[in-house]
Structure formats: C-alpha cells, structure tokens
Symmetry: D2
Amino acid sequence: MPGNTIGQAFTLTSWGESHGAAIGGVLDGVPPGISLDINKVQKALDRRKPGGQHGLTSARQESDQIHILSGLYDGKTLGTPLSFLIYNKDQRSGDYDAFKNIYRPGHADYSYTMKYGHVDHRGGGRASARETATRVAAGEIARQILQLSFPTLQITAAVIQMGTQKLNASWSGHSYRENPLFCPEEETIQSWIAYLNDIKSQGRSVGALIEVYVKNLPAGLGEPVYDKLDADLAKALMSINAVKGVEIGDGFGCIAAENGYDELSAGTPSKHLTNKAGGIVGGISTGQDIICRVALKPTSSTLQSRKTLTKDEIPVDVSITGRHDPCVGIRAVPIVEGMVSLIIMDHFLRWQGQCGTTFRK
Amino acid sequence: MPGNTIGQAFTLTSWGESHGAAIGGVLDGVPPGISLDINKVQKALDRRKPGGQHGLTSARQESDQIHILSGLYDGKTLGTPLSFLIYNKDQRSGDYDAFKNIYRPGHADYSYTMKYGHVDHRGGGRASARETATRVAAGEIARQILQLSFPTLQITAAVIQMGTQKLNASWSGHSYRENPLFCPEEETIQSWIAYLNDIKSQGRSVGALIEVYVKNLPAGLGEPVYDKLDADLAKALMSINAVKGVEIGDGFGCIAAENGYDELSAGTPSKHLTNKAGGIVGGISTGQDIICRVALKPTSSTLQSRKTLTKDEIPVDVSITGRHDPCVGIRAVPIVEGMVSLIIMDHFLRWQGQCGTTFRK
Amino acid sequence: MPGNTIGQAFTLTSWGESHGAAIGGVLDGVPPGISLDINKVQKALDRRKPGGQHGLTSARQESDQIHILSGLYDGKTLGTPLSFLIYNKDQRSGDYDAFKNIYRPGHADYSYTMKYGHVDHRGGGRASARETATRVAAGEIARQILQLSFPTLQITAAVIQMGTQKLNASWSGHSYRENPLFCPEEETIQSWIAYLNDIKSQGRSVGALIEVYVKNLPAGLGEPVYDKLDADLAKALMSINAVKGVEIGDGFGCIAAENGYDELSAGTPSKHLTNKAGGIVGGISTGQDIICRVALKPTSSTLQSRKTLTKDEIPVDVSITGRHDPCVGIRAVPIVEGMVSLIIMDHFLRWQGQCGTTFRK
Amino acid sequence: MPGNTIGQAFTLTSWGESHGAAIGGVLDGVPPGISLDINKVQKALDRRKPGGQHGLTSARQESDQIHILSGLYDGKTLGTPLSFLIYNKDQRSGDYDAFKNIYRPGHADYSYTMKYGHVDHRGGGRASARETATRVAAGEIARQILQLSFPTLQITAAVIQMGTQKLNASWSGHSYRENPLFCPEEETIQSWIAYLNDIKSQGRSVGALIEVYVKNLPAGLGEPVYDKLDADLAKALMSINAVKGVEIGDGFGCIAAENGYDELSAGTPSKHLTNKAGGIVGGISTGQDIICRVALKPTSSTLQSRKTLTKDEIPVDVSITGRHDPCVGIRAVPIVEGMVSLIIMDHFLRWQGQCGTTFRK
C-alpha cells in the first residue's frame, strides 16, 4: 500500500492539499449499524481549528465543516466506506507566491521537491498540517464506535510542557476544563498564556510535550512481533506533523533507572502495583492505563530572517510573513487523541477477528 | 495482515518461539540476480549472539547458524521468497518449569495470556528476544542489497549511554572498533565494562540508549502522510523488545529549544547548515544523516525477589535464577541496525516503484 | 485491508452508495509529474453512461461529471493521493420505496442484509453497478500513465456474444468504431440492436460475453505465486457486478484440447508461434497479447413477476418496474477495460519496485 | 505486499523452489488455543502426492512429510505464526541439466527469465507445481479451524471432466469414495482410468474440469466491492498452476440464459428456490452451496518433440523425457479444496473482525 492509508482492519485513507479544493478521508472496515453523532465529530474538528483559540494559534479562518458523503444512512453506519470531506475555503494562495521557488527552512519544500519533482507550494500542499483535520474527524468516529464496546474508555491528551514551561505537578490523565492551551492544570493556564503571547509578539516559536492516556481499555490488544500496540502507536504519533519523539511509560527515563518491571498484585483493579511500562508489555495491552508522550518541534515559520536556497540553488535570505502558530504543539492535542483512537480501534477489530469468543476453546 | 510481517515492498515475515524447534523468516520482494554474502549474514548474527561477549551478556550458548532454504540459487537471489531458519539448540526448557504458572513481572507472560489464553511459557516463547535474530539476519541481507545501489551507504548504531554512564563526547555516527559493549568511544570501554560487571555481580540491571546513523542515503525516501520515513522507523524500532522510546534528530530536546529548522546553503554537500531534523523533513529523507535514538529499559530478569501472581491469581514472591543480561540494550545494537536497514530497503523499493526514472517528465 | 481498496503499489479506494450524495475514489501511489487529460477521463465515463446509448441501456440520466479534488496541480500529478468524486444527481429514491422491505431476487438485498443488518435499499446502495463509474475513471487515469512508458500499449474490450448472438468471426482485439453495443464487427451491429430491442420490448434480459485484449505490453509483469498477473486479473474482473466467469487464453476450451503449450520461435515479434496461454505463463506476461473473456449474467431486474420474501420472511410476488438494462454486459465494456488498466498499472509499479534496472547485475 | 502471501486476516506466506532444500509456509493470524490434527494435514498432503495414485500421476517419489516448526505448543495453536516445511528429497536435479539453457514450451521458463533474469531451472524452480503442497497443508489447517465454528461445513472438490470424458450425471457436491482420479461417480472411474492410461502410454496429456462445493456456510461472508467472496475465490483458484478459467454458479452458461436470478422462498433451508448464482450474490455468501468450476490445461510436458528457443534465442527442437502427469488436473483437486478453505477462513476472520456480535446494535 502507498503511504496514505493507516490501519489494517479499520483503515483511514486520507487525501488533500492545503490549498486544493478540499481535504478528506475514507474510513473502511467500519462496523455496520452504529449510530454516529456527527455533531461531536464537528466539535472535535472545532477543537483543532486554528484561530478559534484566543488568537494564540494560526489566524487562518478555516470553516472545517465536515461533509459525510457515504457509508451512513438514516444516521447509522452501513459497514461500507465512510467518505468525508472538508472544503478548503480561506485559501489565500497568493500569500505563498513569494515562496514558489524557495525552499522554506524547516518545511518539507526541499524533501518533497527531491522526491516528487512537481509540488504544490501553496501552504505546504500535502505536507501542511491542514491534512491532520482528517485524522481528527476519523479519530472521533473511531472513538464513538469504541465507546459502544467499552463505555468507560477514555482517551485524553494534554500539553504538559510548552517551551520551557512545565506543569507544577504530574498529570494523571484525568479530564480537565477545555482551554485554548489544552493545559490540564487550572492554575497554570494564565501563566502559559502570558508566556505564549510573549513568544508570539517576538515572532518566535517553541516546542511542546503532549501526554496521552488511554484509560479502561482491556488487556489483550496488540499484534506482536511487528504490529505491537506500542509500535503502531509510535508510528501513528510520529506521523503527525512536527513530532520528533515518542515514548511509552517511563520512556527515556528508564535508561538510568533500575528494576524495569511492574510487580503484580491481586489487590488492584489493574493487577499491577506500578505502571512503568505504560500499559503495554510485549506489545500487548495489560489493562492498565496506556501512557505515551510526544515531542513536537517549534513551528518553523517564525519571523526571523534565515538562509536558504531557491529551487535553482541560489542562496537567499527569507523571512516568513504569513500566519503562523507560536506553538504548533497546542493544536496537536486533538490530533494525538485522534491517532490513538484510530490505532486502538484498528487493534480492537484485529483482536476480534483473531480471538473472537467463538474460538477460545 | 496479521502482525508478523513488516514492510510493504520488501517484507520480512518472522516466526518462531524461543524454545520451539527453530526460528526463522521469509523475505519477499527481494530483487533478483544479486550475489549475497551469507558469511556476512552469519557474522551479523554472531555479533548479536549472547554469551560471545566477554560474559557480559546472557550465557546461553546459541549456535545461531543460519540456513537458507529458498530464494537463492548459485549464490544469487532468484527474486522469489528467501526463507531462512535458525535451529534452537540450547533450549534447556526445564529452566522454565518453575514459571509455567507464574506471571514473571516485566515479561509478557500476563499480557500474552490475556490475549492468547494458551501460551508457550518456555523462555518467553514468542515474546522472547530470541526472535530478534531473524531481524538481524534479514537486516544484513537488506543492507547488502542497498549497498549495490548506494555504495557509500553506512548504517551504524552504538550504545551512547548505559545506565548512568554516558560518553565523554557526542558520537557522530562514525564506525568504531568492535567491542563487547558496542561503545563507540575507545577510552570509555574499560570503565563501562567495570560498571557493567559491578551491576551484574549484584544481580541488578540497567537500561541503555542506542543511537543509529544512516549516512550517504539520497534525499527523497519516505511515503507521507502515514508511512513517513520517520514514522516507519519509529514503528520498527519500538517493535524491538524492551524499547520504550524513539526520537529523531533533536527529538525531545526540541521542546524547549527555538528555531526548529535547519537553514539551507549551497556550500555544503548536504545543502543544509545544521541537522536538527535528523535527516527527515515532512517524512522524507533530506540527504543528510538520518539520526535516531532508542531507549531500552533494564532487563526484567534480575535476581531480586518480587511480588507477582500465579495464573490462578494467587500472590507469590518470585526471583528469577535463569540466565540474563545485565543490560539488554547492548545486544540491541545489531538489531537496531537490522531494523533500520529493513525500513530503508523497503522505502527504497517503494520509491523506485512510484518514482522510477521512467516517470520524471 | 477491508474490501474497498484494490492494488498494492497503485491503489484505488472506492466509496459511495447509488443514491447517497456522491460516489468517488482515491488513487494512491500515482507517479508524480504526469500530465493527465481529464477530458479523456470524462469521455471514458460518458462511454459507460447509461441512457446515452440509443435507449438500449438504463434510462437513468446520470451526469457523471468527474471532480478532481486533490493530487493534481497545474495539470500534473503531485504523487499525492488523487481524489475524485461524481455527484449522484438523478436519484429518484422514491422509485425504490416499494422495495424497502423486500429482497429483490438476483440483487444483493438478501446477502447484504445478512452481512450488515442495516442497508441502504435505494437502488441497491453500495451493491449497485453505479459504483463501477469509479473503476472507469480510475482505469482511464491508469491507462494514461501506462501510455507514457508503453506508447503503443492498447487495452481494448468488446462484446463478443450477447445472449444467443455471436460474432461471425473471432475478434482479434483490434480497435473498432464506437457503437452503442461495443460490438467489434461492423456488419453485426444492426442485427444485435434489433435483437436487443426485441428483448427489451418483452421485458426480458440476456447475458453477455466480453473479451479484452492487452497489446504491446512487455514480458515480465506478474507476481507469483499468488499475485500472478492472471490471478489478479481474474479477481479484478470477477469483482465487477454481474460477472460469473473469467477465462484466460484458451480458458475452458483447453479441457478437452491437447498440447497445452505454445511453441517458441525466433522469427516472430512475440517469440511464440501460438497464444493458447493468453499471454501469461506461470503468472507472468510473455509479451504476447493478453486475452481474457468475462461472462456476465442477464440483468436481474426484468419485468416478469417473481417469488420472493419480505425482510420479515413473508412470501410475496414482486415485479420490478424501475429502469433497467436489457443487457448489463454492454455497459461492462469500459469497466472491464478500466479494471484491466488498473491491474496492469499496479503490476508495472510493482515490477519497477522490485526489478528496476538498477538491480539487474 | 509482494506476491507470495495470500489473505488479509488469515495469511499464508509461501516459499520454496522445486529442487531447493525445502518448501514451506507461514500461517499468520491463526486463532489461539485450537487443537490441530497434524495427521490429517499429512493425510491431505498424501492425497496430493504424485506417484501414490496408481501410477497415473507423476512418478516422483516425494515424501512430503510436514514439519511444524512454530505456532503449536502442546498440540494447540499459540496464535503466533505457524511455520511448516517439507523437505525436497527426491530431487534428481540432473534430470534438468539438459534444459538449463532452453525455454521449455508451456512452462514458465521464458516468462520467469524475462522477469527475474536469474532463474532456478531445475524442475521449474518456483514455478513448479511442487509449491502447491504448501497450499494443501495450509488449507487443511484452515479447514480444521473452520470446522470448530461450522461443524457441518463441507468443502469438497471433484474432477467432473477429464479431457473429453464427462460424468454421466451432474455431481451435486456430495462426498465420494476416495479414488486416484477424484472421480465422484463410482461407475465412471474404471473407464476414466482406461482413458488416462491410454493418454499416458501415447505420451499425450489432457486438461480437466474441477468442481468444488462449499456446503453449510452461513450467509454474510465477503467484502465488497473488490474483495467480494467470488473475486477472492477466482484469484485463489486462478493462481493454481495450469488453471486457465474459473466460473461461479451458472458461470459461462448464463450468457445465453435468461432470468438470471434465484427466487426466494420461506419453505427451504436456504431460502432460495434455485442456485444459479452459485451461493454468492453481490460478492457475499447467501447461505446456499457455493459452487465453482476450474479449468486446467493439459500438462505441458508431453513426449512430443516441439519447437523452442535457447536462452540465446537459437531455435531448437526439444522433447521432454522427465516425469510428468498425463493430467495435472487430477492432482489439483486437493489444491482446489485447500485454496477454497484458505479463502473461506480469511473471510470468516474478516467478517468476525468487522461484524462480530458485539456491534450489531
């Protein structure tokens, strides 16, 4: 399969350039007869929507209205492909004319040109984070389906570090009040807003650390030895724009630690005393919380002047004047939740295919 | 596809339990007519072989002799599936009888039982790191094929941190003298050996940080938006036993950094002035060094007593007396190289399929 | 993968119900930088369009206008997913209200209900032949790309039997004057039209035999032992609505024949004296014409009254009064060409991936 | 995926050349905890075994003993890959030295050479029907697993035409007494044996028509619109050596027929009055018998002299003196049953993944 489909049993095939007519996706393998709440899908898209967040993220006014074109009849899934699209309305392609023949540093202009030769330079084209809207929509659909089988399932992400700013205490995956920075610590929100406004006013940008918890998922999901649940999560998360690192459980912290195991106990709901493993051992879920952290690099489009090359390899200085987020990591929170939902859904159907109750004899 | 096949155009299907008759793999999509040096494949397996390394890793005497069963005729690949196997000789299954009904903490006994019901408890069965020998063999075959098209290609991994011990200086991916700890810094080897002997004598274990460089790979490999080169590397590396984190380029270090981009310049071979991105932007290689780091947790099988449950959920204390590595991370170096080689090979064939020179018009 | 994607290196993911908002498809793995002639894609759709053909096929007025939503910029392919859709305009869903709770014999109402529980009954929903428009559009795009590498390639299908009516002489795959019955024999067209009008006026229907030739394709395409070129063609053709049989070369005729081989000779362009094999031996193309025949059953929607069940399993008699084709086989000609084009394209990219010239040493 | 893996949820990856060390396969996606009867797998292999059948098929003495290397512990499946191999013992490669530089007409020597350049000429290498032993073994394992969920399931094939010889009456898929010709009509066996001995003594060969029935499979299996159950069966059957045609239900007979539908009725177990469709409508099983027919060409290796080319394209005459079957179709009966079993098994797991009872709400 070429690279625009993710999943094995529950698949998302995604398409669309940032400034083309539309972006969209096709979900296949959707279980039939399930009532979907499309308003909630729209709400998930709105959470990711740039500009709706106190001016702290990109000012582009995307309407991001989802249109379901197939796979749904009378409000319920048909089991056939569910196709959806989102039109690209506020395209302002002219903003990008100046960059048509320039490789913008930190963007994929150079590597895309090396691979494809012919590229759509407008807003990054296919390499734009605009593409991630399809991940959010598809992920929310996956989550709704999962919830039918696992009513207490929770998939929650938050920003736990933004640039140099950390939380006062560690977060444990609990739900939190919606806020523009996806900060799970109520008392920290205002200082982060001040920090980010400062960054923005200086035309700078910073990275972010996002943490995601999956709670109340049963043990047994994951397909060793290559499609381990953690391996598939790592891929799904690393495929998000600007992500440069992924860790599970104690992650990089385990290098200098000792006793890299979690003792088992009959007295706890999860049957384990600790959760250094982050809920996955041997590539299979243990029934404990699944915990991942994702590192995102600072936005490349800052206001500083920088050295680059034209497509004819003439050195030039360039400074980006278009819209930008001072911290792309913020917007990645719903995307992370979406990708985790897609992977869990895919593994649930794969588990059910191989291990469905009919067989345990 | 179920979970024991990796790759799309160049695939490894792996099989085998630690204490079954054998382990092995099937490579499909192998280009035809290529002379393979099977001695080098054997040598790669020997590098990973436990016990051959100054007594610092597991004492199990695996012969790990590779047998090629198909796909090779007259020393050259046929383009048909290349099947290989390695017999499990030193099985000593009796070592594991005591653990037949116990979930060993940190091992996959619990999660495998939750998924499959019926498990092969001997030495971890399919969850054992023994399975990784197939990755090393397949990876070396991939590397040999890649080398024909990219004669200067280098794929080199090293241990850059072991427990609390770091290198004196950062490593830049250069080749180094073979040594039992895969330590790339000559003057550090002896102190690491002393450190590890100390850990071992106390029945403890520590984690490790492995870094891998891919040098002299052209720009243009990677299949956005899901099969990005970094996403596929993250999956392949996270699928290795004991790995808990993966990062590319500046990785987690980029969170608090600024200017998350690399300027371009005509004056350098790689056309970039820095390499914060780790050689991959937008999911496609830039022609710069590809740089990944992988965190491995400490071996779970240490000599301390620990709490656990029997399969009937009776609490017991257990202490592992079998063979073990004080630092599994060491043995992972050839495995990391193998997985990276497999992914690069797969993406090379995928690139050639879609973008082969016939089409650039 | 679920069932709505075909191909491995060049994939079509298809979606849409007959009376939903739209139908469409996503092509992935498209080689970049290729100029596409969208007018020709539209023309291919028009060839398949019911009602445009002398009133001999279904009277539904589908506009079938293709909209390209991504993957094309400045008239050339980007190498990113090419998404297209066709709106369903003349939906007249009311026509189908009477059949909402009835299993129409010969249609997929019963089997779809058994599988999915919840179905879109309008016009057959996903089971409608309307879906095949996406195959025609995608196939024409594949053909245009193939033509760049193989300028003399021809993929031509024709109706060689319609009900009891056969051609006077065997057809050899040559191109022929466009006519509403896709009949390759000029002198036979009028008698077939008379025959079909007769069938139609009586509310009856007949089946058809379609033959397809691929000319001027080089030897070497096909992926044994399962993705043989003939096996993939058989699947692609059998997946077309109403198809009940597929044969290659001498096909079923070879059972009672002898000498089931083609002698080789230096004196002919194809290096073979005969072509009983139909251009594929061992699952790989020989460079001769590829020849397949496809049997299509008579349209199920005829005017006769017939026995069936309601969804509550009450016996009823039903007679279909909606639009119908007296011979669906006719419309299948462009669909057959489309599916063959998709399979050849996929195998071309797969061949190039594994066997690209770099490797033949 | 390259071409040596079949299935999506239950996969067989096959490997091996006719005269290499061994042939074998890897089954992945196997449900865990299932007791397998390996003796029955061996018995299935023996049914296919050439030479064991009254001297009517190839005289090669293959021992065809199956060795299970993984995935089975204590007699029960682990849910991990089940690897098996069969050594090639009676290799007599010398028989083929004379053909090393000659394209044998009707064999894949020419097309394999065009694709791969470097080929294993001995006995056809990968193109040999020897490869099909893995299909039979894997298919028997699939059948045993299916039988647990569908105790009355029957998958039975028979030869219904051999050369010019047909049965006296049509066969309805019932089981029949084992006989060397897989002839389901007791009174016909002796005349067929006489006919075939005659063919053999003259060094000639004939084709065969095999019919296969699947009885007592529930409605609902199949994955439209490309992985329709009939489409996947067509591919699986067409991928068998020497197969040139596949039809379902009335197949090619429906071209000139009318009323191409089966009426429904409450009074029959299958809810249908007839079965023209062959048990599959819209690509999904109806619960009726699934009926396919497969045409196999005459063995290419007959004793007549024939024209061909050397690999240097020098014309020569060649006559094959090695072992051969006068009718390869006979041996294909267990292979056909095996392939049908694999496809049904794969679709069962796919159905269970998407439509498992948890979801029908």
